[in-house]
C-alpha cells in the first residue's frame, strides 16, 4: 500500500487546533476589564454587551475553521469514494512529517486517511460543526463562551488526530488531549462543585485506562519495532499469541476507559454535568467512539488474540444490558441518554467481538448521528424547561414541534425501527453476533451470552426509548415555576422554540440519523431484522401500556423491586468508592503522617540526637576559663606523648 501524498489530513487537524489558540487568545482582545463577580449582577446589562461582542468573534473563530475542516474531510472521503461503505481498501492519503528519535523505536509523524479514517473524519467534523453552531445559540449569554468554543475546537483537532494519525504514539497524544478537553468541558460550569467532581472523575477513570493503553502501545511497538500502525499490522502475523493477548488486553483497558465500557464506565453518566452540546459531541458521537475506532483500527491484532475477544464479548454483554436497564430507571433525561450511549457502545464492542469491525463502525457512524441528534434535542428541551428531570417535563410536543419530530427520528433510530439508520446498523451487528454463535471467533459460551444479551437489550432499549419519549413529549404538561438558573444548568429562554442556531443543526443532523442506514448498501437479513423489530416493539409496547394506565406515574415501575438498583446503576460507584477511592485517600493520609513521623522523623531525630550529644558536651562549656585551659593543655600533653611515643 503506497501512500498518496496530500496535505489535507494535516490541514484538517491543524485548522481547529489553530482555531483553538486563536479563540483563546483573540476573543477578548483588546482586553476589557471584567467587573468583579459581585458587581456583575448590577452591571449585568453592560457586561452582557461587552462579552456578547467577544462571543460573536469567538463564534466565528470557532465555526469557520471547523466548517473548512468538514469540507476538506468530506472532499477527502469523497475522493476515496467513501470506500468504507463499499468495503474495499484504498491507498491511504496523507504525508509524513518526519521522525522523532527516542533512542529506541522512533516516533513517526504521519497523518493519513484511509477508508476507515476518511468516513470517521467526516463524522467528527460534521458533528463538531453542528455542535459549534448549536452552541452559539445554547451559550450565547455565557461569559465563558470563547474558552468553551476554543476547547471544542481543540477537542475536534485531537479527535481528528486520533482518526488520521498513522503512528500509535501520535494517536495517543490526540487520545489524551481529547480526555483533557472532555475534562475542561464537563467542568465548564465549575461554580458547582459537583460538576467539578464529575470532570475530575471522568478524567481520572479514563486516564486509568489510558495507562494500560500506553503500555499496550509499548508492547505492540517494541515487538513490531515500529510505532507506525501500518508496520505494526504488517508484523502481527509474526507476533506470538502471548504478545498479542497482552497487547490487546492492555489496549482494551484504554478502550474500556475511553468508550465507557463495563469496568470503567462510571464516569460517563456523571459527565452529563457538562453542557448538553458537549454531551452530544464528546460523550455520544465522537470521543467515546474512539475506543471502538481503535479496536477496528488494530483489528488484525485483536483477531490474533482470541482470549481478548472473549473478554470483550463478556464486557459488551454485561455493559449493554446493564446500562440499558439503568437507562430505564433514570429520571434525568441526559442520564438516560448517557446510559443509552454506554449500552450502544457495548453493542459496537459486541460487534467487534463477534468479528465484524465493519458492522461496528457502521453502527458507530449511525449512532454518532442519531445520538448527537438526541442530545441536541434534549438540550433544546432542557433549555426550554430549565431542568434535566423528566418528572418536570411532559406534553412538550405542541410547544416544541420541530424538536419533537427530530427526537422521534432519533428514538426510532435508537430502537432500531425501520427506516431509520439505527435499524440497518443494528441489524448488521445482530447478524454478526448471530454468526458468532455458530462461528469460531468466540468461545461458545461467550458468543451465546453476547447474542442473548443483545436481544434482551433490544427489548430494554425499546422500553427506555419509549419511556423517555412519552414522558417528555406526551402526557399532561407539568408547568412548574422555573427556578432561578443555577450555575450548573442552562440559561432559561422564553422563546417557544429554540433559536435558529440550535434548530438548524438539529434539522441537519436528523437527515443522516434517518437516512444514513441506506449508505451501507441494503444487505438485510430478514429473519434477524424481524426479530429485532418485534422485540423492540414489544419493549416499547409494555411501557406504553403501563404509561396509558397512569400518564403521570413513571413507567419505570415495571421494574418493581429491581428499580432502585437500576437507578443506582447497580451500585458500581459505591463499590468503587469503597474499594479504591477511600483506601487511596486513607493511604495518602497515612503517607503524610508517615512522612512526618518516620521519614522526616528520622531526619529530625538525627538532628535531635546531635543536639543531645552536644548538650552533654555543653556541660563542659560552663564559662570557666581555667577549665578550658586545662582541657587545652591536657590535649597538648596527649599530642606530645603521642608524638614522643610514635615518632
Amino acid at each position: 500500500m503506497s501512500t498518496t501524498s496530500s496535505p489535507f489530513p494535516l490541514l484538517i487537524v491543524a485548522l481547529p487546533f489553530l482555531a483553538a489558540f486563536a479563540g483563546l487568545l483573540l476573543s477578548r482582545w483588546p482586553r476589557t476589564r471584567r467587573p468583579q463577580p459581585g458587581a456583575a449582577e448590577a452591571k449585568g446589562q453592560e457586561a452582557g454587551h461587552q462579552h456578547r461582542g467577544g462571543n460573536r468573534r469567538a463564534a466565528w473563530i470557532a465555526v469557520l475553521p471547523t466548517a473548512v475542516s468538514a469540507a476538506l474531510a468530506l472532499w477527502l472521503a469523497a475522493a476515496q469514494g467513501f470506500a468504507f461503505f463499499a468495503e474495499r481498501a484504498v491507498d491511504p492519503v496523507g504525508a509524513d512529517y518526519g521522525e522523532i528519535v527516542t533512542g529506541t523505536v522512533p516516533i513517526t509523524l504521519t497523518l493519513q486517511a484511509d477508508a476507515l479514517s476518511g468516513v470517521l473524519g467526516v463524522l467528527v467534523t460534521l458533528v463538531a460543526l453542528a455542535v459549534q453552531v448549536y452552541s452559539v445559540g445554547y451559550l450565547h449569554d455565557d461569559r465563558r463562551y470563547p474558552s468553551y468554543s476554543a476547547f471544542i475546537s481543540l477537542f475536534t483537532s485531537a479527535m481528528l488526530l486520533v482518526v488520521y494519525s498513522g503512528d500509535l504514539l501520535v494517536l495517543y497524544v490526540g487520545w489524551e488531549v481529547m480526555g483533557l478537553c472532555s475534562y475542561l468541558l464537563i467542568g465548564h460550569w465549575w461554580e458547582d462543585r459537583s460538576n467539578s467532581r464529575a470532570a475530575v472523575k471522568a478524567f481520572l477513570v479514563t486516564r486509568l485506562g489510558d495507562v494500560g493503553f500506553l503500555f499496550g502501545i509499548f508492547v505492540l511497538g517494541i515487538s513490531a519495532d515500529s510505532f507506525r500502525i501500518a508496520d505494526v499490522l504488517a508484523k502481527v502475523p509474526e507476533m506470538s499469541t502471548a504478545t498479542l493477548v497482552t497487547a490487546t488486553m492492555l489496549l482494551l483497558a484504554g478502550v474500556a476507559g475511553k468508550s465507557a465500557q463495563v469496568p470503567l464506565h462510571t464516569w460517563l453518566p456523571d459527565a452529563m454535568a457538562g453542557p448538553t452540546p458537549i454531551s452530544a459531541l464528546i460523550h455520544a458521537a465522537t470521543m467515546v467512539a474512539a475506543g471502538i475506532f481503535i479496536v477496528a483500527r488494530l483489528f488484525p491484532a485483536f483477531l490474533g488474540a482470541r482470549p481478548t475477544l472473549d473478554v470483550l464479548a463478556v464486557m459488551a454483554a454485561l455493559g449493554m444490558l446493564g446500562a440499558a436497564l439503568a437507562a430505564l430507571a433514570q429520571d434525568d433525561l441526559k442520564r438516560v441518554l448517557a446510559y443509552s450511549t454506554i449500552s450502544q457502545l457495548s453493542y459496537m464492542a459486541g460487534g467487534l467481538a463477534a468479528g465484524s469491525d465493519h458492522a461496528a463502525i457502521f453502527h458507530l457512524l449511525t449512532h454518532g448521528a442519531f445520538k448527537a441528534l438526541l442530545f441536541l434535542c434534549a438540550g433544546a428541551v432542557i433549555h426550554h424547561v430549565g431542568s434535566n428531570l423528566m418528572s418536570q417535563m411532559g406534553g412538550l410536543r405542541r410547544e416544541l414541534p420541530v424538536t419533537f419530530a427530530a427526537t422521534t427520528i432519533g428514538f426510532a433510530a435508537l430502537m432500531g425501527l425501520p427506516p431509520a439508520s439505527g435499524f440497518f446498523s443494528k441489524d448488521s451487528l445482530l447478524l454478526a453476533m448471530d454468526g458468532a454463535v455458530s462461528g469460531a471467533a468466540l468461545t461458545d459460551a461467550a458468543a451465546l451470552l453476547l447474542y442473548a444479551s443483545a436481544l434482551a437489550t433490544v427489548v430494554v432499549t425499546g422500553a427506555y426509548s419509549a419511556r423517555a419519549w412519552l414522558r417528555t413529549f406526551f402526557g399532561p404538561g407539568r408547568t412548574i415555576a422555573l427556578p432561578e438558573p443555577q450555575p450548573g444548568t442552562a440559561h432559561v429562554v422564553d422563546t417557544r422554540e429554540a433559536p435558529p442556531t440550535m434548530l438548524i443543526p438539529i434539522v441537519l443532523l436528523a437527515v443522516p440519523a434517518l437516512l444514513l442506514g441506506f449508505a451501507g448498501g441494503l444487505h438485510l437479513d430478514v429473519g434477524v431484522a424481524t426479530i429485532s423489530v418485534v422485540l423492540a416493539l414489544l419493549g416499547s409496547g409494555v411501557v406504553y401500556a403501563f404509561w396509558r394506565g397512569d400518564p403521570v406515574a413513571d413507567p419505570a415501575r415495571i421494574l418493581g423491586p429491581f428499580r432502585v438498583p437500576c437507578e443506582r446503576a447497580f451500585y458500581v460507584d459505591s463499590v468503587y468508592a469503597a474499594l479504591f477511592v477511600r483506601p487511596i485517600l486513607a493511604l495518602s493520609r497515612l503517607v503524610v503522617s508517615t512522612d512526618d513521623r518516620v521519614v522526616d522523623g528520622a531526619v529530625r531525630g538525627s538532628g535531635r540526637t546531635a543536639r543531645g550529644l552536644s548538650g552533654v558536651l555543653r556541660l563542659a562549656q560552663n564559662g570557666n576559663v581555667q577549665l578550658y585551659v586545662s582541657g587545652v593543655l591536657a590535649g597538648v600533653l596527649l599530642i606530645v606523648v603521642g608524638a614522643v611515643m610514635f615518632a
Binding site: 461554580e191 462543585r193 467539578s196 478524567f203 503500555f215 495518602s588
Partner: protein, 560 residues
C-alpha cells in the same frame, strides 16, 4: 570551535563580575538595581543563546566550547569546561530561569508584592538579593559546564550558600529552620558524594570526566564501582531528591521566596539528576548496573509516595514540592533503566520539570501573595476571582500531570518505555513491575493535580467569607498591600487555635476585599516564555531528543 571557548568562561564570569561589582559603590547602584540584575542576567541569557545558536548539532555527542586549563597542578585538578547535548539544554534553562526571576523581580513599577527589589519597610535588602541570585547563577551554570570532578563538586557546593541565604533571609515564617535543614541535609549528601568522587579519583587516577566517561569504567573493579556509585549516588539522590532523602525539599520550598522556589525546583534539583547522567552512570557502568534495580525501586516508591503525599496536602506550595518528588521519581526511573531511551526520557523530564514546576511555583507565589495564604481549602473559586491566573494555573497543572502535547508527557513516557525494555543486565520482570507502578503513579499524579484544581480554581469564590464593610477590617490591620502587613499585625497575638482561625478568616476577608489584581504585567512577562516553551517542547519533543540522544548513546557506549 575553539574560537568560542571563551563562551563558557564568559557565562561564569559575567554573573560573577556582576555580583562583585555590587560590592563596590553602595549608593550609586541603588536606584538602578532592578535594571542591573535584569541586565546582567540578560547578558548571560544572550551568551547562552549564542551558545545554543552556535552549537554544532551534528556532533551533539562531542564536548564543544571546551576550555582546559590547569587549575591546581599539584592535585591534577583542571579548570575544564565544555558543553554537549546533555548539558546544553540545562545551561540554557538555567540562564532563562534566572533571567525570568529577575524579570519577575524587576520589571514594571516594582510595586508587586513578590518584587523584593523595591526597598521597603522590614528590609527587603535588594542589593543583597541581586548579589545572591547572581552568585547562585554562577554556581548553577558552572555545575553544568564543569568537566572535572572536583570542579563539578566545587560548583555543586557554591550553589548551596546563596540558596541558604535566599531561604533564610527572604523566606516565610519558619524560614530559619527550613534553611538550616536544607543546608545541613544537602551538605551531608555532598560530603558523601565527595568521598565517592575522591574514591573514583583514587582508583582511576584522573578527575577528567570526559576521559573517565570514555573509559566506561575500565580499570575499576566491580566492587569499587559499586561502592563509588553508592557514595556518589547518595549525594546526588539527596539533591534530586530521591525517596526517602526528600524531606528537606517540602520545607525549603514552602518557606523559600517565589524566586527561590523557582530556582530550587527549576535548576537545583536538576543538578542531582545531571550528576547521574554525567558522572554516576557513564563513569561507573558496572556499579550502575548493580544498583539500578535499587535505584528503580526507590524511584517508583518515590513516584507513588510523592503522589499520595500530594493528595493529602493542604498547602499549595508544599503540594507542588511533593509533586517534585514524584516527578523526580520518573527521572530516576529513566536513569535506572540504563537504556538510551530511558535516560533520554529522564533528561527530557528534567528540563520539562524545570519549566513546568518553575511556572507552578511562580503561580503558587502569586496566589500566596494575593490570598496571604497557600492553604488550599481557604482558596476557592480562583477562576472566578482571578480568571487569568486560574487559567494559567490550570495550564501548568495539566502540563505537570503529563498531558501529551505538553512538555511533561514525553519524559515520563520515555522513562516508562525504557522500563518496558531495560538494559540487558537488568531483570526485565522487575522493571516491568516498576513500569506498571510508575503508570499507576501517573494516574495518581493526575488525581492530585485535578483535585487541587477542583479545590482551588473551581467553586464559588470566598463562599465562607462574610462580607463586612471594608473600612473596619482594613483600618484595623493597616494597608493590606504590604507583603506582611495584615499577617504581621495579627500574628503577634497568642498562638492558640482560635487565633489561628481568626487569622485565617481575617486574612481571607482582607484578600477578598482588598484589590486583588489579576495577572500583572511583570508576572506575564516572566511566565509567557515558560508557557511557550512548555508548548513547544510538548508539540515538538524532537527538539530536545535529537540533542540528547547522540550524547546519551556516547555516554552509554552504545555507538562507540
Amino acid at each position: 570551535m575553539s574560537g568560542l571557548s571563551w563562551l563558557p568562561v564568559a557565562l561564569l564570569a559575567v554573573p560573577l563580575l556582576g555580583a562583585l561589582l555590587l560590592l563596590a559603590p553602595p549608593p550609586a547602584l541603588r536606584r538602578t538595581l532592578r535594571l542591573y540584575g535584569l541586565a546582567v542576567s540578560g547578558v548571560v541569557l544572550v551568551l547562552a543563546a549564542i551558545m545554543v545558536a552556535t552549537f554544532e548539532y551534528g556532533q551533539a555527542a562531542r564536548m564543544q566550547f571546551t576550555l582546559d586549563l590547569p587549575w591546581i597542578p599539584g592535585l591534577g585538578v583542571r579548570f575544564h569546561l565544555g558543553v554537549d547535548g546533555i548539558s546544553l539544554p540545562l545551561v540554557a534553562l538555567t540562564a532563562l530561569l534566572t533571567f525570568l526571576c529577575f524579570v519577575y523581580l524587576g520589571v514594571g513599577d516594582g510595586r508587586g508584592q513578590g518584587q523584593l527589589l523595591r526597598p521597603r519597610a522590614g528590609g527587603s535588602r535588594p542589593r543583597a538579593l541581586v548579589f545572591t541570585l547572581l552568585v547562585l547563577e554562577v554556581g548553577m551554570i558552572g555545575t553544568f559546564l564543569a568537566l572535572d570532578l572536583l570542579l563539578f563538586f566545587v560548583f555543586f557546593e557554591i550553589v548551596l550558600i546563596p540558596m541558604y541565604f535566599l531561604i533564610a533571609v527572604w523566606g516565610g515564617k519558619a524560614r530559619r529552620a527550613a534553611a538550616v535543614k536544607f543546608i545541613l541535609y544537602t551538605l551531608l549528601g555532598s560530603v558523601v558524594m565527595l568521598l565517592g568522587l575522591l574514591f573514583i579519583w583514587a582508583q582511576a587516577g584522573t578527575l577528567d570526566m570526559v576521559e573517565l566517561a570514555a573509559r566506561h569504567g575500565a580499570g575499576m573493579s566491580r566492587a569499587v564501582q559499586v561502592i563509588a556509585f553508592l557514595a556518589v549516588g547518595i549525594g546526588l539522590a539527596v539533591k534530586t531528591p530521591m525517596w526517602p532523602l526528600h524531606t528537606w525539599l517540602p520545607d525549603a520550598h514552602t518557606e523559600a521566596p517565589t524566586v527561590g522556589s523557582v530556582l530550587l525546583a527549576g535548576v537545583l534539583l536538576k543538578m542531582g539528576t545531571y550528576g547521574f547522567a554525567r558522572i554516576a552512570i557513564p563513569v561507573l557502568p558496572e556499579g550502575a548496573a548493580a544498583l539500578a534495580p535499587w535505584l528503580g525501586a526507590l524511584a517508583v516508591v518515590g513516584i507513588i509516595y510523592g503522589s499520595l503525599a500530594c493528595l493529602a496536602q493542604r498547602d499549595l506550595k508544599r503540594m507542588i514540592a511533593y509533586s517534585s518528588v514524584g516527578h523526580m521519581g520518573f527521572v530516576l526511573l529513566g536513569f535506572a533503566t540504563l537504556t538510551t531511551v530511558g535516560i533520554n526520557g529522564a533528561l527530557f523530564a528534567n528540563v520539562a520539570h524545570g519549566l513546568i514546576t518553575g511556572l507552578l511555583f511562580f503561580l503558587a507565589g502569586a496566589i500566596k501573595e494575593r490570598y496571604s495564604t497557600a492553604d488550599m481549602p481557604s482558596i476557592t473559586g480562583l477562576l472566578a476571582t482571578l480568571p487569568h491566573l486560574g487559567s494559567v494555573l490550570t495550564f501548568a497543572a495539566i502540563a505537570s500531570l503529563g498531558l501529551p502535547g505538553l512538555a511533561g508527557f514525553w519524559g515520563e513516557m520515555l522513562a516508562l518505555l525504557g522500563a518496558f525494555d531495560p538494559a540487558e543486565a537488568l531483570s526485565r520482570p522487575l522493571f516491568l513491575t516498576f513500569m506498571v507502578i510508575g503508570g499507576l503513579g501517573a494516574v495518581l499524579t493526575a488525581a492530585y493535580f485535578l483535585v487541587m484544581l477542583s479545590r482551588v480554581t473551581h467553586g464559588l469564590p470566598g463562599s465562607k467569607a462574610v462580607p463586612v464593610p471594608p473600612g473596619t477590617v482594613l483600618a484595623a490591620s493597616g494597608p493590606g498591600d504590604e507583603a506582611t502587613g495584615p499577617e504581621a499585625s495579627l500574628a503577634i497575638g497568642p498562638s492558640d487555635e482560635t487565633a489561628d482561625a481568626r487569622l485565617e478568616k481575617t486574612g481571607e476577608r482582607i484578600g477578598l476585599l482588598s484589590h486583588m489584581p489579576d495577572i500583572r504585567r511583570y508576572e506575564m512577562a516572566a511566565w509567557v516564555p515558560l508557557i511557550v516553551l512548555i508548548l513547544l517542547f510538548g508539540l515538538w519533543p524532537g527538539l530536545l531528543l535529537s540533542l540528547t540522544t547522540p550524547a546519551v548513546e556516547a555516554l552509554l557506549g552504545v555507538v562507540s
